[in-house]
Symmetry: C2
Subunit: 343 residues, 2 copies
C-alpha cells in the first residue's frame, strides 16, 4: 500500500480534507480584546448563565460545536466522530459534551496542543476514508484552569511577569471529505510532534517550557517537506506568549531557519491587548489557539487574504502531581498546513 | 473516495493491519493471579525499583513498549507514533514516557477504554497508509489511582463489595502495515463508542456506570456489521467486574442479542482470583484490559486457538471534580475485531 508519510514525522493528506464549518465562542475579557468582534459569540461574564465554571466551559464547548456543525450545513447526527479534549482532569468538558451530543467520541489529551492534535488526527481519518465528517474541538476557561493547576481564585495569588492568562472560550472545526457548503480551507499536511523537555520547572513560565517542542516540530516539518518559513504566509503558534515567542525566534535563528517577525504570529499575543488587559506574557490554554484559528485565520483563508498557513498549537504537559515530585514540564506541538480554497 | 465506514459507527479496515509485537508488564498482586505466568514480567513490589508510585507506573509503561517493539523485530526509532494514555491527570505516565522514547506522541484520554481506543485509532492510521508502524499502550497502578481518585492509601478507607481493584501494569501492542515478524493477529474492524450515562453516581460502582456504554457499542457493531454474538469466539470487555458483567448480560438479553456465558469474558474477572485475592467485584484500570489482551488473548489468536474475537475496553469517565459537583459518571467503550493469522 502506498505510504502517505513524507520524511520522519510529516504526512501528506492526498485528498486534502476540507475545513467546512468553524466557530469560536469566547468569554468577556476575550471579547474586550482586539479580536472581540470576530468571535461568533461573546459571553457577558465567566459564568455564561451556568451554575459553575465547569458547566460554563461545557456550555462554550457545546455552543461552539453546534454552531460549527450548522455553519457546515450539517446536523450533529451527520457527524461521525467528535475528536476533542480540554485542560480539565479526565477532559470532563469534552467527555460530558460528547455525552450530550451523542456523537461517537475520540478523547484526546494534548494540553494546549489539543486543537492541532485533533485537526491532525481528524484530517488523517477523513483523508483515509475512515470518516466522512468529523468535528474537532478544544476549550479552556480561566477560572477552571486556575483552580486546577495553580491556586483557588479567592486566594488572590500574585502572578509573575512570565505568567500567561488562560483564555476562556472554545473553538470547533468541522472536517469533511465532501463538503456541502463552501470550504473555508483545505488541510494538506500534518506533522505529529515529539515530547521535548529542556528542564523548565516553573509552572508560571509555560512559554519557555513549550518553545523547544515548537522548534522541534517546525524543524521536522521543514526538513521533511523541503520547505522553509518563507513558503508560508503565516506561521502560527498556539500560546507561547512573549517569553516563548522570543525563545522560539532565537531557537529558529540558531537552527538557520529564522522566522520573520511580520509572518510569525502567536495566538497568545493576538487575543488580548497586553497594554490594557493585564495578562502579563499573553494568553494561553487550549481555547486560545482554538478560538483564534476559527475566528481569525479560517475566514482569511476562505477569502484568499492568506494562501497557505502553518498552524501549530503548543502544549505544556504540566501536572501538579509531577511538579510536586520535582519533575520538569515537557512540551509538545503538532502542526497542520492549511491552504486557501482560492489556491 | 471510497468510504471505509459501514453503518453508523463501525469501520472496515480493508488492509487488515497486523498486530506484530505485544507485551504485558504486571505488578506483584497481578503476578499472583491466574494469569501470572503469562506476563512478560512481574514486579517484586509496587515500587518496581523506583522512588514514587508514579515513577513505577512509568517504568511499567516504558518496559512494556520497549519489549513490544523488540518482539516486533523493530527499534523505537522505527515506530512512527505512540498512541497512548493512562488514568493519571494530564496522562503523565504516557506523556513522560513519550518524552523518554522520542517517538511522536498522540495523547489519548479514554479512562479505562484507552487500550481499545488506541488500537482503533492506530488501526485506522496504519490502514489508511498514514503510518507504517505505531505502538499503542495503556497502563494503570493501584497506588497512583487510589490517591488520585479516591483516598490516600494511608487513610485505610473501607471498600464496598461493588468496588474494583485497579490493576498495576502496562500493556503495549505494535501495529504494522508490513510486519517483519510473524503477526499475532489482524485488526479487521473497529467501532468507536458514544458516551453513555444512565445516572450512576457511585465512584465505587464503576461496573454499573460502564455497562450501558458497553451494551451501546456492542449493539452498534452488531447492527452495523450484521453479525451476532455467535460470530465471535470470544466477546471481551475490559473491566466491568462482576456487577457490570451481570448488568451487560441483562442489557444484551433485553435487546435480544444475548451473550453466551462461556464466550463472554471480562478481563476484570480474569486477572485476579476473587476467592483468594480480596478484590471485591474484580479488576479495573487501563492496565487491566491492556495486560490481559497482550498476555492472554494475542498469543491464543496467533496459535489459532481463537479465530476471531471482539475486544472492547470500557471506560468510566469519572472525575473527582464533576462528582463533587453532583454529576453522574458517563461511560464509553470502543471495540476492535481481531482475527487469527491462521484464519
Amino acid at each position: 500500500m502506498q505510504s502517505r508519510r513524507i520524511g520522519q514525522q510529516t504526512i501528506e493528506l492526498q485528498n486534502r480534507p476540507a475545513l467546512c464549518g468553524n466557530a469560536a465562542f469566547a468569554g468577556k475579557k476575550e471579547g474586550e480584546g482586539p479580536l472581540g468582534s470576530q468571535f461568533d459569540h461573546v459571553a457577558h461574564d465567566e459564568m455564561y448563565g451556568q451554575e459553575s465554571f465547569e458547566l460554563a466551559e461545557r456550555r462554550f464547548y457545546l455552543d461552539a460545536i453546534d454552531t460549527a456543525v450548522k455553519k457546515a450545513g450539517l446536523a450533529p447526527e451527520e457527524i461521525q466522530f467528535l475528536l476533542g479534549g480540554d485542560l480539565l482532569n479526565q477532559i470532563i468538558t469534552a467527555s460530558f459534551s460528547a455525552r450530550d451530543l451523542g456523537i461517537p467520541f475520540i478523547g484526546l489529551y494534548g494540553a494546549c496542543s489539543t486543537m492541532s492534535e485533533s485537526l491532525c488526527l481528524g484530517g488523517m481519518l477523513v483523508d483515509g476514508g475512515h470518516a466522512q465528517r468529523v468535528v474537532c474541538a478544544a476549550s479552556s476557561h480561566f477560572c477552571t484552569a486556575e483552580r486546577q493547576y495553580r491556586f483557588p481564585l479567592e486566594f488572590g495569588s500574585q502572578r509573575p511577569p512570565t505568567a500567561q492568562w488562560t483564555v476562556t472560550g472554545a473553538g470547533a472545526t468541522v472536517l469533511c471529505a465532501e463538503p456541502v457548503s463552501a470550504p473555508l480551507a483545505h488541510l494538506s499536511r500534518c506533522c505529529m510532534g515529539r515530547v521535548v523537555d529542556l528542564g523548565i520547572k516553573d509552572a508560571n513560565n509555560m512559554g519557555a517550557a513549550m518553545a523547544p517542542a515548537a522548534a522541534d516540530t517546525l524543524l521536522s516539518l521543514f526538513r521533511d517537506t523541503g520547505t522553509t518559513p518563507g513558503d508560508y504566509d503565516r506561521i502560527i503558534t498556539g500560546d507561547l506568549g512573549q517569553v516563548g515567542h522570543d525563545l522560539l525566534m532565537q531557537l529558529m535563528r540558531e537552527n538557520r531557519m529564522p522566522l520573520i517577525d511580520e509572518r510569525y504570529q502567536d495566538c497568545g499575543l493576538m487575543i488580548y491587548d497586553r497594554e490594557k488587559q493585564d495578562v502579563h506574557a499573553g494568553g494561553s490554554g487550549c481555547g486560545c489557539s482554538a478560538t483564534v484559528l476559527n475566528a481569525y485565520y479560517l475566514p482569511r483563508l476562505q477569502k484568499g487574504q492568506l494562501k497557505r498557513i502553518l498552524f501549530m498549537s503548543t502544549g505544556a504537559l504540566m501536572s501538579p502531581t509531577s511538579s510536586q515530585q520535582g519533575e520538569s514540564i515537557p512540551g509538545v506541538a503538532h502542526a497542520v498546513v492549511l491552504e486557501s480554497p482560492t489556491l
